[in-house]
């Protein structure tokens, strides 16, 4: 049993070790161990970059909390017609490729005559992460007992003050964990800063790219990468402090009450903020893609997708890139789902054992969880360079092979699968499992007939999420996919980096297609029949 458990762990651990930790160590080693002729040491201090990375992330997170907490109240604590569809739609920006987010915010800014790059970056962060706060805080809020609120109100507290004094303290753990996740995403986003920052502002992620690729200053780049890792680990530890909070798609609204008049300020606030910040940018992208440069309705932007842009700028057409992307998505999703599901299962097993032993903090569990999460917090440029340096000799063929991109994307999607599956596995009712065990069921039987059956609705969420991560991934692909292996986000970046009506029109058309795909996927996985109630099919 021991050996088997070890072997089960070994596979996913080795997968991430080979694809992430080994190349990462090679880059850091080279960075601190050598000097290159003609490299121009970056004179600009690390601190301004770190400071900007941290403050823009904190400001974005605070705004996301300020907008998201009332959103969680209205959408998860209250019931009304249309709440379900709003709950689903606000998730769309979170799952959109970062370059589509950038285009959406650019369009929003165009309404008021353009945005300052810093403001645009913060707006994009809030746009993309609003749903994280709403969903995470909402999931905890819906489990709170309504009685305390009512008692407070009977005692004379207004709705606003009862919410603030009574509910917020109880929501501490979900607020903390959603803040940490939002902070992490805001601090490590590459595509958003690259396309909205216009080369004028830099975060750790883009500064690494400049110091390594433009200035050949690997030492500076490695130092920045270490800082990024430290930041990522700090945010992760903070998120785990109060236990895990699932990115849930299965609202349990049994304690929700109907909206009443005294909720109207909150409702108005949520409607206005989500309409302006979440829905308007999406609608603008959809609308603009059908409007020609002279203001008429047209499909021409979509018809251009079989071309290579003006001046044959692109190496391949969008249709060809679409094939590459779909192929990568299929492979990355299968791998990340299999590995991620295994990791979630093993982590859940581990923490059940741990609970049984009644120890306080599960250090090993947190370390294992962090081990799989770290890849999303580390610069794609560093990972990409790691492959260029590491894959030599026998593995040189892999370096220029198309299979590398889906493998990396699989690794980047594993944390998403784990975030969705692991908390759901933990939440499985213990008694059913124990009963089965007592009745003589084997471990494998418990897994297939109880665990798997109970988390089935979450599985499709995990699959959908990892597919969307792979579809939108830009940083690693831009370093590793060459020429005719370009993916859709890479082509989009080439187009939006070279303005001109025809090129931008094509980028808008692709943004529209990606937005529609994402919306469809999100709606499909978040249909809300209470599937847990149905008899389990065998």
């Amino acid at each position: 049993m021991r050996l088997k458990g070890f072997l089960l762990w070994a596979a996913p651990l080795a997968f991430v070790a080979v694809l992430f930790y080994w190349p990462l160590l090679r880059v850091l080693n080279l960075g601190f161990g050598s000097h290159f002729e003609g490299s121009s040491p970056t004179e600009i201090s690390i601190w301004p970059v770190l400071w900007f990375t941290v403050w823009q992330a904190i400001v974005s997170t605070v705004i996301a909390l300020a907008l998201g907490i009332p959103g969680a109240y209205v959408l998860y604590r209250k019931t009304f017609r249309g709440a379900a569809i709003i709950r689903s739609l606000i998730t769309v920006p979170f799952m959109l490729p970062s370059l589509v987010v950038a285009i959406a915010i650019t369009e929003l800014g165009a309404l008021i005559g353009g945005l300052d790059p810093v403001v645009a970056i913060i707006l994009a962060n809030v746009f993309a992460n609003y749903a994280v706060v709403v969903r995470t805080v909402g999931s905890q809020w819906q489990t709170l007992d309504a009685q305390t609120d009512e008692e407070a109100e009977v005692a004379g507290a207004g709705r606003f003050s009862s919410t603030f004094r009574v509910a917020l303290p109880q929501l501490r753990s979900s607020i903390r964990s959603s803040s940490a996740i939002v902070l992490l995403y805001c601090a490590s986003s590459y595509g958003i800063v690259l396309s909205l920052g216009g080369g004028k502002v830099n975060t750790l992620e883009t500064a690494i790219s400049i110091s390594v690729l433009q200035r050949l200053d690997l030492q500076h780049g490695s130092a920045l990468a270490l800082l990024q890792i430290a930041f990522c680990l700090a945010a992760f530890t903070a998120s785990r402090w109060g236990g895990t909070n699932p990115l849930s798609f299965e609202p349990n609204l049994s304690k929700a009450t109907r909206l009443d008049k005294r909720d109207s300020p909150a409702v108005a606030f949520v409607i206005i903020s989500s309409a302006v910040l979440v829905f308007l940018p999406l609608v603008l992208v959809l609308a603009k893609s059908f409007i020609s440069s002279v203001g008429e309705f047209t499909f021409s932007n979509f018809l251009l997708l079989d071309s290579r842009g003006s001046r044959d700028l692109l190496n391949i057409t969008f249709l060809e890139a679409g094939f590459n992307s779909i192929r990568n998505v299929v492979i990355a999703t299968v791998i990340s789902f299999l590995v991620g599901a295994l990791v979630s299962y093993l982590l859940a097993e581990h923490s059940r054992k741990h609970v049984r032993k009644n120890k306080k903090t599960d250090v090993l569990g947190i370390v294992l969880d962090a081990y799989f999460l770290l890849p999303i917090g580390v610069s794609a440029v560093v990972i990409g360079l790691g492959y260029l340096i590491t894959l030599t000799g026998t593995f040189a063929w892999l370096r220029s092979s198309w299979i590398l991109v889906p493998l990396v994307q699989a690794m980047l999607a594993i944390p998403m699968v784990v975030r969705v599956l692991y908390p759901s596995l933990l939440a499985i009712d213990h008694s059913a499992r124990e009963q089965a065990m007592t009745d003589g069921a084997r471990k494998r039987q418990v897994f297939f007939y109880i665990d798997l059956a109970l988390v089935k609705p979450v599985l499709k969420t995990a699959i959908a999420f990892s597919a969307l991560v792979s579809l939108g991934e830009f940083g690693a692909a831009s370093l590793l996919a060459y020429g005719d292996q370009s993916t859709i986000p890479m082509l989009m970046y080439q187009l939006i980096a070279r303005p001109g009506n025809k090129n931008y029109g094509m980028a808008l058309a692709v943004a529209t297609i990606l937005t529609l795909i994402t919306t469809l996927v999100v709606l499909l996985v978040s249909r809300e029949p209470s599937s847990r109630m149905k008899p389990v099919k065998r």
């Binding site: 003609g38 600009i44 216009g198 080369g199 502002v201 400049i210 050949l216 003006s310 492979i331 020429g483």
Partner: protein, 328 residues
């Protein structure tokens, strides 16, 4: 379970089919993102030499050079195209090239003028870019940030050749000119594409700035419906960017690599350069298009050829950043 196994076998099939194609001997070219070769030329190379040509695009010239230095023990290609005179010293110092770098093409970094704007506003078209710091050209010019753009870096370098060198304890006169240029309302864009296609009024973006730092060849692409140019270049004292091709050290196929280098210096490849990449062929015996001779001739005079760019790049960038107070 059955569905899963079908999915897995489909994936195996998908991964399997691409690795089975037995390749004939191939030669790999690494180039910057702006490299273009027509299908006909590619086929010509493959039929005359018998090698299959693979192309890897590795970012702009700067990041491509960095990647090649970092992977020099096991290079990602056999031949590199697109290292220019700004980055050639880096390539040489790190010994990534086997033998010599051969010049393939050149382009002259010159300011371009939106002639329509200048005519409408009765402005005299400057004959020397040094005049762009004069008050009558206030708020008219957009340039590229030399920290992120090789075009911007080329121009920055040439200003140090255009003015007398610094004497001890005194500002370099180039910096004095940059301060005046800054105060005259110059805009600094992140990339050539941004400056030319978004900010410049004479091209597709119809921006606000009628003067842009670009190339002497750019006007060839800005003709009105009658075929007359809408823009023109200031062709005095421009900086000449030369692009090279070379065989990478430790190349897996050095014979094929030599053949590719020879091909890029051949008449048929050289002849295609103006149309494909907006550069002038290095081989002067190759005819260039008439419209180029008329609207997009090379610079009348060039400066900065003798500068040691690798040596001074950092100092110049620091001067620039001090003048504009921008973080790279």
């Amino acid at each position: 379970m059955k569905r899963l196994s079908i999915l897995i076998s489909a994936v195996l099939l998908l991964t399997g089919c691409s690795s089975t194609a037995a390749p004939k001997e191939s030669v790999t070219l690494v180039a910057h993102d702006s490299f273009v070769i027509s299908d006909e030329l590619k086929a010509e190379f493959e039929t005359t030499t018998g090698y299959q040509l693979k192309i890897v695009r590795a970012g702009d010239a700067g990041s491509m050079t960095s990647k090649l230095v970092l992977t020099k023990d096991a290079p990602i290609a056999d031949v590199v195209f697109g290292i220019d005179n700004t980055f050639a010293p880096v390539a040489k110092a790190n010994k990534i090239i086997d033998g010599e770098l051969n010049s393939v093409d050149f382009a002259d970094v010159c300011f371009n003028i939106d002639t329509e704007y200048f005519n409408e506003h009765n402005l005299e078209i400057p004959s020397d870019w040094r005049d762009l710091s004069k008050p009558k050209y206030k708020n008219l010019t957009v340039i590229e940030n030399p920290n992120t753009s090789s075009t911007g870096l080329a121009f920055l370098a040439s200003t140090y050749a255009a003015f007398p060198p610094a004497t001890a304890g005194v500002f370099p006169s180039a910096v004095t000119w940059w301060l005046a240029f800054r105060d005259n309302g110059v805009k600094v864009a992140g990339s050539w594409e941004d400056a030319y296609y978004t900010d410049f009024s004479g091209s597709a973006g119809k921006g606000k700035y009628p003067v842009v730092l670009s190339y002497s060849s750019s006007p060839a692409d800005e003709l009105d419906s009658k075929g007359n140019p809408r823009t023109q270049a200031i062709r005095k004292d421009c900086f000449r960017q030369t692009e090279y091709v070379g065989v990478l050290r430790n190349s897996a196929n050095s014979t094929g690599a030599e053949a590719l280098v020879k091909f890029m210096l051949s008449k048929s490849f050289q002849k295609a350069l103006p149309a494909s990449m907006y550069v002038y062929p290095i081989d002067r015996s190759v005819a260039i298009p008439d419209s180029w001779l008329k609207n997009a001739a090379p610079a009348e005079s060039i400066i900065g050829g003798e500068l040691d760019i690798a040596e001074h790049r950092e100092g110049w960038l620091n001067d620039f950043n001090w003048v504009f107070d921008v973080a790279p």
